[in-house]
């Protein structure tokens, strides 16, 4: 170092178990989403009941492959059909061609259609998520918003209206607390519980569990919808991390240290 600079004030933001379980859980959630899409491909339809009424799915990803003309991939929600050819319903097969499959090869684990191996990845990383998630959630208890946090929430929301003038503070603001707590204590538990409700053995032990979700097939809707919610969170989370000091934020989740006045020192 050519000259001695007064070090920027920094705070130790995340203890080691939080950092570790944050990254492992992130990896697990990514693998669970991608192997989950592989599993979904085996029967890409959802039913709002305990059993499948095959003629009335509430959600379906499918393909029309007429004898003459081009195949069409579509997503169907109720009676609304959206053309999604080349991405959903009919898209890449992972070998240079296209094939009728709900989620495309680039989004699934494994890339080719393989329910058995998709299940292996899914069930393995479901355990990883649960073990990590319990540790992570224990440390996240301190994020439970206080009454003062909730009172301050509307004000924090207002400070987030201009994307390039977002506040950068070492301590988590009420908006962060509410969204993280929502994901950790509401969305992820719903996804895990609705996933367990799909297991016939779990259902024998806990018959009320599938009923809680409106039946086994309805639990698939919760499981799938929860995944969509987590993906939406992931996108917003990445954008916010990038807009509020990418390097400083990443460093704090890797080394634990967050530099105050991050804008100038980074």
């Amino acid at each position: 170092m050519p000259h001695v600079k007064k070090p920027s004030p920094r705070v130790y933001r995340h203890p080691l178990p939080v950092r570790l379980t944050h990254w492992i859980a992130a990896l697990a959630l990514g693998i669970l989403a991608m192997s989950g899409m592989q599993i979904f491909n085996a029967h890409p339809a959802l039913y709002a009941s305990d059993v499948s009424h095959f003629d009335r799915p509430v959600f379906k990803i499918g393909a029309d492959e007429p004898l003459a003309g081009n195949p069409v991939g579509y997503v169907q929600i109720g009676s609304l059909r959206v053309n999604t050819t080349h991405v959903l319903g009919y898209g890449p097969d992972g070998m240079g061609g296209e094939i009728g499959r709900a989620f495309p090869s680039w989004a699934t684990i494994p890339t080719y259609q393989d329910l058995a191996d998709g299940r292996r990845w899914h069930i393995f990383f479901a355990w990883v998520l649960v073990v990590c998630g319990v540790i992570y959630a224990y440390f996240a208890l301190r994020l439970l918003p206080s009454r003062a946090d909730l009172r301050e929430l509307p004000h924090t929301l207002r400070t987030h209206l201009v994307p390039w003038r977002l506040p950068r503070e070492p301590q988590l603001n009420p908006l962060q607390k509410v969204s993280y707590v929502g994901i950790i204590f509401i969305v992820v538990p719903i996804v895990v519980a609705s996933g367990l409700a799909l297991s016939p053995s779990v259902d024998a032990w806990l018959p009320w569990l599938p009923q809680l979700f409106g039946g086994r097939q309805f639990a698939r809707i919760w499981h799938f919808g929860g995944m969509i919610a987590l993906m939406a969170f992931f996108v917003v989370h990445l954008v916010m991390v990038a807009l509020t000091g990418l390097i400083n934020n990443l460093r704090s989740m890797i080394t634990g240290w967050y530099v105050v006045k991050g804008r100038k020192s980074v």
Partner: protein
């Protein structure tokens, strides 16, 4: 080519997903990783297989109008054709292996000799869908009691008549604990009528606490063994093709 910001972001997202999918897929090809991924199966079996909880039983009004057919085509052998068109005259179920009194049972004797057990349960396919049906037949435990299982027996193997079109016959297996489950039934009736050919006539195993592939159709022989492996592979047709032996999840 002009590209707007949204399709650029979409493309970057797809490319990074694709990278993850490829890495995971190449890891999947590694034999030891492939084996490691199956590690939770033991834990799942230890937790969920620890007792004998009953699958929920439904009311007759809940029975699905059509019990979906899945899996292989019905057996193509001449004998099966003959039996299925002749009221199963001449067909018999063989029960042997590690038992004191190996025996064969024809359909009338199965219906007459054993207590008829019925259950209206949900059938959950590994693909994700579910249907409800009423299954009636002989409790696997009753059948095994009749032939008296030897003390060192560990597994009950169900040999079937249907094949995958390449000569590989379907088979499945239960451990002794699972075979003793009060809802493990060797069914001869579906919805109070003889099981249709498409659903596994004349005899189908029904294990409502596990996924559909455990409920083997077209059962011809029940063999009690001390261990799986060798000729019996990982204990089932789909198990030999990477699926879990414990089909409870």
């Amino acid at each position: 080519m002009k590209m707007d910001r949204r399709s650029f972001v979409g493309l970057v997202a797809a490319a990074s997903l694709s990278g993850c999918a490829r890495i995971a897929t190449s890891l999947n090809e590694n034999a030891s990783i492939h084996r490691l991924l199956l590690a939770p199966e033991r834990l799942n079996l230890a937790i969920l297989g620890a007792g004998q909880p009953l699958a929920h039983e439904y009311s007759p009004a809940d029975i699905s109008s059509d019990f979906r057919q899945n899996g292989f085509y019905p057996p193509s052998s001449d004998a099966y054709q003959r039996w299925s068109t002749d009221g199963w005259r001449g067909f018999s179920l063989r029960v042997d292996g590690m038992v004191e009194r190996p025996a064969s049972f024809d359909m009338p004797s199965l219906r007459r000799t054993f207590v008829r057990r019925s259950q209206i349960t949900r059938h959950d396919c590994v693909e994700g869908w579910s249907v409800i049906g009423k299954w009636s037949g002989v409790l696997v435990a009753d059948l095994l009691a009749a032939v008296e299982v030897k003390p060192l027996a560990q597994y009950v193997v169900f040999h079937c008549m249907d094949d995958d079109g390449e000569g590989n016959l379907y088979y499945e297996s239960l451990n002794m604990h699972q075979a003793a489950h009060p809802q493990a039934v060797l069914a001869y009736d579906l919805n109070d009528r003889p099981i249709p050919v498409k659903n596994g006539a004349p005899l189908r195993l029904k294990v409502p606490t596990q996924l559909g592939y455990k409920s083997a159709k077209y059962v011809r022989r029940i063999e009690v063994v001390a261990a799986l492996g060798g000729r019996l592979g990982r204990g089932g047709y789909w198990e030999d093709r990477d699926y879990e032996w414990f089909a409870g999840i």
